[in-house]
């Protein structure tokens, strides 16, 4: 019995508590991300933003959440019931499980696996399934068109994203996320690999279906795209999943290019601040830029989006992989 407790049950309880310690703050962050987005967009468009519910409108996300869950669930006629309900669950689930490998500080990681970056890439490439399944199962033309757009868009931008990740891996020599951050102790990768950083950020926008690449849900053409038939809790799951994905992509950007938990300068006043705070600040900076882009840039046309992905980003990132490899080999800078 004691063996069962110490060998199986206790690790299980610790594991569940660790998972809760990641997901609960993440969901709170998602809630306040929606609030922050509305406030920042309000400020950029000289409006107030939410200001009624609670002090400074801080309770607005919870009011919205309550409203969403209190609404009626509608299953469209001719919809495929199981796939229709599995799709939002899948989106939400995928947005959460990716956090298992994210290092918040040195050694503060749920699962420090050897192929962390591949795991993240795999999970983010699965995000398209939630959207495609939702679009197909809704039995609606708008939803289906949104799903088709999204499938093509996410597959296209994944290709250049993979090449950008390869560039970073060439400089690190490891697929482990902790190693990737520690390789940036001298200089963050956003400085030597600046063009890759910019391209990764833009690809991340496309991968998370954010403006100016929000064509899968482009409301001016497709009403609300793939989620047009969803209401109540399934809609809320899509919403939460999308925002959790945005935070995940920001975390990925900060790990790959902005030095993860590392302070900007490696001496006294900066090193006093714990690493997890730096990491959170970097994520917040990326998220702010997402909102900034949304408030600034108009939506792309679909053929322009595809042109950018295949004719600009793919050759450029391929060229940069070759260039980086060449420079590393020529100067003998290859990581051991």
């Amino acid at each position: 019995m004691a063996e069962f407790w110490s060998g199986f049950l206790l690790p299980l309880i610790i594991m569940v508590l660790q998972i809760l310690a990641i997901t609960v703050p993440l969901l709170v962050a998602v809630a306040f991300m929606t609030y922050a987005e509305r406030k920042i967009m309000g400020a950029m468009q000289m409006r107030q933003g939410p200001s009624i519910v609670g002090p400074f409108g801080l309770m607005q996300p919870f009011a919205d959440g309550l409203k969403l869950f209190a609404k009626e669930q509608i299953l469209p006629e001719g919809a495929n019931r199981i796939v229709f309900y599995v799709a939002p669950m899948l989106t939400f689930f995928l947005a959460l499980i990716a956090w298992a490998v994210i290092p918040f500080d040195y050694g503060v990681v749920l699962s420090n696996i050897n192929v962390g970056v591949l795991y993240l890439f795999a999970i983010s490439s699965l995000g398209v399934y939630g959207i495609v399944m939702a679009g197909w199962a809704s039995n609606s033309r708008y939803a289906f068109l949104g799903a088709l757009r999204s499938a093509a868009q996410m597959v296209s931008y994944e290709v250049s994203m993979g090449l950008i990740i390869i560039t970073v891996l060439l400089c690190v020599g490891s697929l482990n996320l902790t190693d990737i951050v520690r390789a940036q102790e001298k200089v963050w990768f956003c400085i030597p690999l600046l063009p890759m950083f910019v391209m990764f950020f833009i690809s991340a926008l496309a991968e998370t279906n954010r403006a100016p690449f929000d064509l899968p849900e482009g409301e001016s053409e497709l009403v609300a795209g793939f989620m047009v038939e969803y209401s109540s809790a399934p809609f809320a799951l899509f919403f939460l999943g999308e925002y959790a994905n945005m935070i995940l992509m920001s975390a990925m950007t900060s790990i790959l290019f902005l030095g993860g938990w590392l302070p900007p300068l490696p001496f006294a006043p900066f090193t006093w601040v714990p690493g997890i705070v730096w990491f959170a600040l970097k994520i917040a900076f990326c998220l702010f830029t997402y909102v900034w882009v949304r408030a600034t840039v108009p939506r792309y046309r679909y053929d322009q989006l595809m042109r950018l992905g295949w004719k600009v980003f793919l050759p450029l990132s391929l060229f940069w992989v070759v260039l980086t490899a060449g420079v590393l080999v020529t100067f003998g800078w290859l990581p051991k």
Partner: protein, 204 residues
């Protein structure tokens, strides 16, 4: 050890079950979704064997890219299932033959394993022990040294397949208007706008 055993049987049973569902599901989209589930179970089995790189690549390449395009196509096809099932009996002998060949190959591989258990160890000899280098590094070292020509050759095969697909679908249609972004951006105000004072009652 017991947990690993349970995990193996769960993955294996789900793999076989979803494989059966792929061929027995009435709706082709459901078939593709079950195929994706089968890929996942296979990736889980790879993880249990300690081949984490293969598992992740399986998910990235097959689930993340190939199956998406597959699903994409199947969703847009307008298939008549009744006709499809009528034709199935005619190709059954061929399918059975392919299945038999695969079964024989599997039997040959597994039989060799049982008859001479140390063959696998000899074949795997160039790979260093798992505690010295990680799985990914071992794979890379082997692939870019000993098997570099085969690796390049497989790349060439893929390239030829790609060129073939392009050749089959590329056709030049006359009269297609394309957007030239460079020309659009390099337009200057003085090239396109003329300001004229128009006297009253005379026109331009």
């Amino acid at each position: 050890m017991i947990l690993q055993g349970i995990a193996f049987y769960v993955f294996a049973a789900l793999l076989v079950a979803s494989g059966v569902m792929v061929i027995s599901a009435r709706n082709p989209v459901h078939s593709v979704l079950f195929l994706i589930l089968a890929f996942f179970q296979a990736a889980g089995l790879c993880l249990l064997m300690g081949a984490e790189f293969i598992a992740m690549i399986l998910i990235i390449v097959y689930v993340g890219a190939v199956a998406v395009l597959f699903l994409f196509v199947v969703m847009m096809l307008d298939i008549n299932f009744r006709e499809l099932r009528q034709g199935a009996m005619e190709v059954l002998p061929l399918g059975a033959l392919v299945g038999l060949i695969l079964l024989a190959e599997l039997a040959a591989v597994l039989g060799g394993w049982i008859v001479a258990p140390n063959v696998a160890a000899i074949a795997g000899a160039p790979t260093p022990a798992i505690d010295q280098v990680s799985n990914t590094q071992a794979l890379g070292r082997l692939m870019y040294t000993q098997y570099v020509y085969l690796f390049q050759a497989s790349g060439v095969v893929l390239l030829i397949a790609m060129i073939g697909a392009i050749v089959l679908t590329l056709r030049h249609r006359p009269g297609v208007r394309k957007q030239n972004i460079g020309a659009q951006i390099s337009r200057r105000r003085e090239d396109v706008v003329v300001i004229r004072k128009v006297p009253t009652g005379e026109g331009v």
